[in-house]
């Protein structure tokens, strides 16, 4: 066995600002969660009162009043949402069954940043719902990061907010 000695970290340190992955385009996410079903766009704009009620009930901030919602031919709902964490930005797709239980959650894309970009909407827009082919700005070199566990609390919060959004603003009747 070699005697352990400290080496200097090589100069080739890269920033995670170049790190991101697109897993699913909008069409792929829809087909993954609702295979074979017809989806019809039915975007909803929340009123101020609805947004306030959702924040109060879920304890999670409502950053946007538009709900990107599709209704499925089998009675389910498909929602695309954005999750902004401390250092990360996700686009997620959430499928709800007709009884409003969670059918499936898929990460559509993930982008990591330690700069100000993650809170800048114009910057985030360039990633949302992109297909892999269109995802040209990111490097291909960083594929797998072994690291201490990154919490997915913000994704969990977003799902909680969407379930409350359903109760407050989408539930039929």
């Amino acid at each position: 066995m070699r005697h352990p000695t400290w080496l200097l970290i090589p100069a080739a340190v890269v920033s995670t600002a170049a790190y991101g992955t697109t897993y699913l385009s909008l069409e792929q996410a829809q087909a993954t969660i609702f295979p074979g079903a017809q989806l019809t766009a039915a975007f909803v704009t929340l009123t101020k009162e609805q947004a306030a009620a959702i924040e109060k009930k879920s304890g999670v901030n409502v950053r946007k009043n538009e709900v990107k919602l599709w209704k499925s031919s089998d009675g389910g709902y498909f929602i695309v949402d954005e999750v902004v964490g401390k250092h990360e930005f996700f686009t997620i797709a959430v499928g709800l069954n007709a009884d409003s239980s969670v059918k499936q959650i898929e990460i559509m894309d993930y982008k990591e940043s330690y700069g100000y970009e993650v809170r800048n909407e114009a910057w985030r827009k360039q990633f949302t719902g992109k297909t892999s082919a269109a995802h040209l700005r990111l490097t291909d070199d960083i594929k797998n990061i072994s690291g201490a566990t990154l919490s997915c609390r913000h994704v969990t919060d977003a799902v909680k907010r969407l379930l409350t959004t359903y109760d407050v603003a989408l539930k039929p009747g």
Partner: protein, 290 residues
Amino acid sequence: MCRRARPLLGTLVEIGACGPDASAAIEAAFMTVREVHRLMSFHEADSDVSRINQAAAGLEVCVDPHTHRVLRFARRMSAASRGIFDVTIADVLVRHGFLPPVAPRVTHAVEATWADLDVLDGSRVCWSRPGCIDLGGVAKGYAVDVAIEVLHTYGSAAGIVNAGGDLRMFGAPQPVHVRLPESPGSLVALGHFNDCALATSGSYFSGRGARGSRHEPLVSRDRRICAAMRESATVVAQDCMTADALTKVVRLAPGLAPELLGRFDAEAIIIQGTGLKHIGTAAHDRGIGT
């Protein structure tokens, strides 16, 4: 390679596979990870872990074969590490706010150690003195291993599973980067790896408290408190459960590391500040290079 990601095990789990059945293989692998999550959750009242944490001394608890495999491994690792690795530390994690006080037993200090939980044949376990366990230090690695098994079952030519930084791959060399603990937005390339697992332990995402009094969910056994350390440890091993468990031992007991890594055919990479240190040579024997 087809890649998907879902929120599971309290983190982001990414699964990739190559082959004609890749989508079905990935879906089945996610289902298995979800099953491991359900069985080994500290939070859910009907998980195997919760049932063990409520059982009285002398009472045999039937558990799922998955849970049994993890507990049998944990016992072996505890014995090999002379108790440095120990899953019966849930009370300490509750006291430091890393876990919720879900069961009455976890709200006060518990004397029991790993040696008090007998792992019996026939998927049963039994406390000789009641304690409380948390499998957070090993279940994520195990979930990665079973997801990899599922990809193999589906005949995937190559695959990778990454559960929030604990990862394992087969079939094709994969580049792996690791974060610098003092600047987690900066990555350093470790090289290309194949047919092995890597896990990293560091406090940069999991720590609590202000700088100076920061603790992480890593329990120092003799002092029964959460540790506070600045370096990160990455372990390369044949399976991810071994790698996951060894990261804790390497950080808590560096003196034991060379012997223990050798016994489990593993290697460690310690990163502190701008320095990097290799312990053991096993990974190089697997033909890993940059």
